[in-house]
Symmetry: C2
Subunit: 404 residues, 2 copies
Amino acid sequence: MFKINENYLKLPGSYLFFTIGKKVKEYSQAHPEKQIIRLGIGDVTQPLAPAIIEAMHGAVDEMGNAETFRGYAPDLGYEFLRNAISRNDYKARGCGISADEIFISDGAKCDSGNIQEIFSVDNRIAVCDPVYPVYVDTNVMAGRTGVYDGKTETWSDVIYMPCLAENDFLPELPKETPDLIYLCFPNNPTGSALKREQLQEWVDYANKVGAVIIYDAAYEAYISQEDVPHSIYECAGAKHCAIELHSFSKNAGFTGVRLGYTVIPKELECDGVTLHSLWARRHGTKYNGAPYIVQRAGEAVYSEAGKEQLKQQVAYYMKNARYILDGLREAGYTVSGGVNAPYIWLKAPKGMTSWEFFDYLLENANVVGTPGSGFGPSGETYFRLTAFGSYENTVEAVERIKAL
Amino acid sequence: MFKINENYLKLPGSYLFFTIGKKVKEYSQAHPEKQIIRLGIGDVTQPLAPAIIEAMHGAVDEMGNAETFRGYAPDLGYEFLRNAISRNDYKARGCGISADEIFISDGAKCDSGNIQEIFSVDNRIAVCDPVYPVYVDTNVMAGRTGVYDGKTETWSDVIYMPCLAENDFLPELPKETPDLIYLCFPNNPTGSALKREQLQEWVDYANKVGAVIIYDAAYEAYISQEDVPHSIYECAGAKHCAIELHSFSKNAGFTGVRLGYTVIPKELECDGVTLHSLWARRHGTKYNGAPYIVQRAGEAVYSEAGKEQLKQQVAYYMKNARYILDGLREAGYTVSGGVNAPYIWLKAPKGMTSWEFFDYLLENANVVGTPGSGFGPSGETYFRLTAFGSYENTVEAVERIKAL
């Protein structure tokens, strides 16, 4: 008789955004007249930039023509896209990442969930707390996290690095030694950012203890300050200890287009085996490439017109972030983030828990945010708002919150 | 110090099609004047049908417009596509599979590689021999296959079901009891097909011993005989023991578009836990949906115009299959398949091994096929040709082989 993967049953409750969706649906069915504004899930709202639309139409036409039709893509992705990434995201920043160290995928969520597979199940992971749930949940599914304690909402074999107001929502080097360290900066959910010399400390630490940093750079396009690094490879020694994940969802609005990439430098190895070769094997065996049309869309992100249009799109969302930050401060809230990231992290008022504030905001302002506790125990009493709404909705949401 | 997943190191050699690609590249660099015809990898060559191109252009336009832009897709896929699948692929065939038992993905390769994750690592798998390499390799990566014997090219914990000329290239019920049974019919690589009452025996067997059948129906569009089932759910009791995988790659030419789906009936459970809930959790945690544009392309596959155009596309490839079958028979080869599948399976002549025949064909006819031994030990001395080339190339390849 077959058996299931018992690790799946250890996962507490259901995925955060699923629960939010259910609550919102129930509320809106009970109150169909209410105009709900969603600043919860990090989904974009602006249409794709014209340069990207043009590239996609062109690629669709190619697929309809026998001479230009494309079947299976190369395992690691088309060279035109990997070259554009290497040139623009790395070489232009002084990072020597070559095209063959870049793996194209259908998004950073998949990569951040799948990357743990190439490591031993005995490896110990360290995560920020609060944290993007996918890092921990996928390690639970793999059986790497030990026993769950429902009271503290923590796993026995996970090293948590609390990110709280007292440390500017930045993790401190852990006391216990991890094998894999998940870092996401600019951070989801807190919107905090590590400066270059702070990230260098992490790289030095990882090289010292023999850990791998899985660096999620999904929000790098939102960096506005000079001393905040766009890539971990801006730090010396990072090629020996870091894997970097990139998304096109936030910088180019690809949440419904699906494109991302992962960098594994060829220097990164364990007992003579490169992690690059393991990930290449996984790509070749379990994956079949991002659609040709989507890879052409990705290439257009790096065209001159695309870059200019996307700079404006990012500025549009950051204007929202500024509006939320200023408005909530004015209303007396304690807020952070929003300067190098599209997320605003605020303290729930009047001693409310995160979910109490979620319900309060949904019912009284008809605004949907994300409860901080959904990202981990240290997120309790915090709340995340995103800058990804339309400007009009953002203004309206802030005014409603101010009027409470 | 971090450690890698040691199971990856157990994988012998590299992925079959990678090796073929390398050999072909080396040959063509040494002989740039030769016109090589590729009938190896199962990649299609005909452009996308006009109805699909039209749908994709429409969806691209929607993505460029704020009112119709789509961000994250629903976890299990858009309802418009799941409804079309339920109606056309199931209800029209008398199978009561509902839209919410269908999970949209970026292809059957990914699904067939990932599906093992929801099962215990202690489960024992059974595979046909020869077999699509992904089934076995992904179980190796998960640590489910025991020790590899390089001499017999088999894994100690895998149950092999030889498919040879003497059993019409169809598997027999295994002597040892498996937990998971991978079946792909119409078959890749042999092109053989199970009749409805033969598949019913497998369903009855699985229900008797408590095994799950992972049924890969990627080639169902090529079925030409009445008594060959298009879905395992045409068999009584299959909803209690079978997961079905579907591809859009072969019936609609989506190898470079990337779309597939997996069916998990809600009846399928283990100790009260439905496999549907586990796969839904995996989708929600590790995956972020197929692109909106691609899901609209999938919907067009089921439009009246799409169905008519794709019927012609399948007929085009099956004309190739007929030509290869007839031509090789005429030349004295022992051939099978090609009637309900786009693959022709032939015996290498003059006692050659599969790879010897590969080299022989590459060097003397400049035709690329796939060595049967790459699909498992029982594939040795066999060879696979695909019908996915252009008609002109197929005719030319057959004439060259006949002239040897």
